[in-house]
């Protein structure tokens, strides 16, 4: 099947392209020249590489992969803390097969670093990698025993498997619901101090230095954490990170009077932290992810401390990144880089995240000027809770292609 996308404003951050052009697709890949086939008129639309979301936990797979492509996300990385936990090769194979059969977004699973994510016995990393795991992670579960963590790093380094870790000290965060700061102080909410992140980062970065493991740090929340990652990168450590899109836009003050929609994990931190995260992404230190979390309707209808943390995100990733980029005064290629080129590089994928000839034809076509209101009931995902409910956002996905096939169209 050949497709030509005509008259699009082609934005390809990796190849530094931003101009009106045609895109040729043949056999699921970007081609150098046109061949007879379907034509898509994309006048007025931006065509960019399909978004790569480095952290999205699908709830119902069919619903959330449909939500992904509705948001222009063509690849999402799922943490291992699904139900069931991804610690057995059969589970990984079943999940990836099911995802493939849906012919929507691509799903790249992270394997559980330890069995049942209990932080004790290692999972069968080599077998899980063969089954399709692209890296290994503990999700939000801790490894309490630092000795066991060192062994996990050494073993992963043996095979050069990347580790994706959430820097959050268990003891410093276990009872908390919110950033340990002005808002938690005023509302009497148990706080999670920034040291929960920096203490964990110090451990992870030290072990990465000692073992040579490729370390990716998930969902940074603080200025101090971002500074530690920047320093580690400057020291030549093979380390990367991502931040959640919500953390670029909200600080702890979004909690207001106990608004459970603003209960996230890691927590929304201070305004200074928010500013530092925005700068970190601009500096190319961090990719932007949705941190999409499956939530039921009732999960937030309770007192703040009992409400489940998290938010829906797959359909908001693009508009939230656009809002960040416009507020920062960035060009479209610079805005889209942390959603396309950078996450592809973190995943070590040469054939996605860009629109060069030979790349997989994963493409997002969006109207960069279209306004829409975030109405939870209109979101495709079954997870509806978002602190952006009722807000106007800019940037609407019109078509999404995965492997040269149109998988979403309005």
């Amino acid at each position: 099947m050949n497709i030509t996308i005509k008259n699009a404003r082609v934005v390809d951050p990796r190849n530094r392209i931003d101009r009106v052009a045609d895109i040729f697709i043949s056999d699921g890949r970007i081609a150098a020249s046109a061949a007879a086939g379907q034509e898509i008129d994309a006048s007025g639309l931006v065509a960019c590489p399909g978004l790569i979301d480095l952290c999205a936990r699908p709830g119902d797979l069919a619903t959330d992969l449909a939500a992904a492509v509705a948001g222009g996300v063509t690849t999402l990385v799922s943490p291992p803390n699904l139900n069931p936990v991804l610690d057995e090769p059969e589970r990984v194979e079943r999940l990836t097969k099911q995802a493939e059969s849906l012919r929507l977004a691509r799903l790249l699973p992270l394997g559980a670093l330890t069995r049942k994510l209990a932080g004790e016995q290692l999972s069968e990393l080599a077998i899980l990698a063969k089954a399709g795991c692209v890296a290994f992670s503990q999700g939000q579960s801790p490894v309490m025993d630092t000795g066991a963590l060192l062994h996990a790093f050494e073993y992963a380094a043996t095979f050069d498997f990347p580790l994706w870790m959430r820097p959050q000290d268990y003891y410093l965060s276990r009872n908390g619901f919110a950033h340990n700061g002005a808002v938690s102080g005023r509302l009497g909410l148990t706080g999670i101090p920034v040291s929960a992140e920096t203490v964990a980062l110090a451990t992870l970065l030290t072990l990465a230095t000692d073992t040579g493991v490729r370390l990716h740090l998930c969902c940074l929340s603080s200025a101090a954490g971002m500074a530690m990652v920047a320093r580690a990168k400057a020291d030549g450590l093979p380390v990367s990170c991502h931040v959640g899109a919500h953390h670029l836009h909200f600080s702890e003050s979004a909690i207001g009077f106990f608004d459970t929609a603003a209960r996230l994990d890691p927590p929304l931190r201070s305004e200074d932290d928010r500013v530092a995260l925005r700068e970190g992404v601009r500096a190319g230190l961090a990719a932007i992810c949705s941190d999409h979390t499956p939530l039921a309707r009732d999960d937030k209808l309770m007192p703040f401390g009992s409400a489940k943390p998290g938010a829906t995100g797959l359909e908001l990733l693009l508009p939230l990144a656009l809002r960040w980029g416009m507020e920062m005064g960035l060009s479209l290629p610079d805005i889209l880089a942390p959603l396309t080129n950078l996450p592809a590089a973190i995943l070590g994928r040469d054939d996605s995240g860009h629109l060069g000839v030979g790349a997989s034809a994963d493409i997002c076509l969006f109207d960069p000027d279209a306004n829409w209101h975030v109405l939870p009931e209109n979101l495709q995902s079954s997870s509806k809770h978002t602190p952006f409910a009722g807000q106007a956002v800019v940037g609407q996905v019109k078509k999404t292609l995965v492997g040269g096939e149109v998988v979403f169209s309005v």
Binding site: N180, G181, F257, P303, A307
Partner: protein, 321 residues
């Protein structure tokens, strides 16, 4: 994030009492003045006024309380309301949907007011927000203590007590001593003292029991109790929960008493006419010495008496009187 103030309506009238934070000084003073007018009632033969006749006040206590619940019950009954006490089992109520289901059911029974005590911060705000969403603008919520967040009627009765003994707030130095971090009483008292414009608020306690960002709250922090008490006019002691002794927050009750317990010797550093307050229940020998608790400067039982008048004032103002 709701951009309205959750307890004051567009006309500036109090619709719920959820927290002291954000309440203007005029509303606080109106409550104190109204409470004054109710205080004489206790000496009359017939202790009732008909201000809440025909209204149903539901006491919803998801967490144990004797003093607060009893004084709310007395306050509502003296206003001639019908009082329904619900002691809700902690385990079944800890699930939030159950909480809002409970509220929906009580609304169907034509409740006029909910007096809510809950172990989680924000529970009363959640109920008020739910009532707004459901269109029950005529039902009022009184927060009788939610987690570590707020205990506004306790703060109001404390302010009443201070005004009763000291007349004017402006020249006062007030010390709040103990476990500020876990205390809804402390949070509400700091907000009330700030709104009423006392000269100085001093917070006394070890670093393990103080919340972050205290300096931003316009208070002076002392870790040395003697230094903190010097020449102050009012000492508010806080209850230290026994469970605080189990972890790494404090080494022992003995050491706590030595550093932060109020003894006659430490109290002597305050002004000679300083008053000593405590929200109760007291741990004698932990945060307060019996000689102080039973001594001439303690006004702890006056607080309880004033508490009824203050709660009557809150209920009657919310009911539109």
């Amino acid at each position: 994030m709701p951009d309205f103030h959750p307890q004051i309506n567009a006309d500036g009238k109090l619709t719920h009492l959820l927290s002291i934070t954000g309440l203007p000084r005029e509303i606080l003073l109106k409550i104190l003045d109204t409470a004054s007018s109710f205080l004489g009632l206790a000496d009359r033969e017939v202790k009732k006024v008909p201000l809440l006749r025909g209204k149903s006040v539901f006491n919803l206590f998801f967490e144990n309380s004797t003093r607060t619940r009893t004084t709310f019950e007395i306050a509502a009954k003296r206003l001639s309301a019908d009082v329904i006490n619900l002691d809700i089992n902690r385990s079944s109520a800890s699930k939030g949907e159950t909480l809002l289901d409970t509220i929906d059911n009580l609304c169907a029974m034509h409740a006029n007011m909910f007096v809510v005590r809950h172990a989680e911060s924000g529970a009363a705000c959640l109920i008020a927000e739910h009532l707004r969403r459901m269109g029950h603008d005529d039902i009022h919520v009184v927060n009788a203590g939610d987690g570590r967040h707020a205990h506004p009627t306790q703060a109001l009765l404390d302010m009443y007590t201070i005004r009763h003994f000291k007349k004017d707030f402006a020249p006062l130095a007030v010390a709040v001593v103990g476990d500020i971090l876990h205390s809804r009483v402390a949070r509400s008292n700091i907000a009330a003292l700030t709104a009423l414009g006392v000269r100085e608020i001093r917070i006394i306690g070890p670093k393990t029991l103080l919340p972050p960002e205290l300096p931003r709250m316009n208070v002076r922090v002392h870790h040395d109790m003697r230094e903190g008490l010097r020449d102050c006019d009012v000492v508010i002691m806080l209850r230290l929960q026994n469970e605080r002794m189990n972890g790494a927050l404090l080494p022992s009750a003995r050491e706590y008493f030595k550093c932060y317990g109020l003894t006659p010797e430490k109290l002597a550093l305050a002004k000679p006419d300083a008053i000593v307050m405590h929200p109760g229940p007291m741990n004698r020998g932990v945060e307060i010495d019996s000689f102080v608790a039973d001594g001439p400067q303690a006004v702890i039982l006056d607080q309880v008496t004033f508490g009824i008048a203050v709660r009557m004032a809150v209920l009657s103002i919310l009911a539109g009187n």
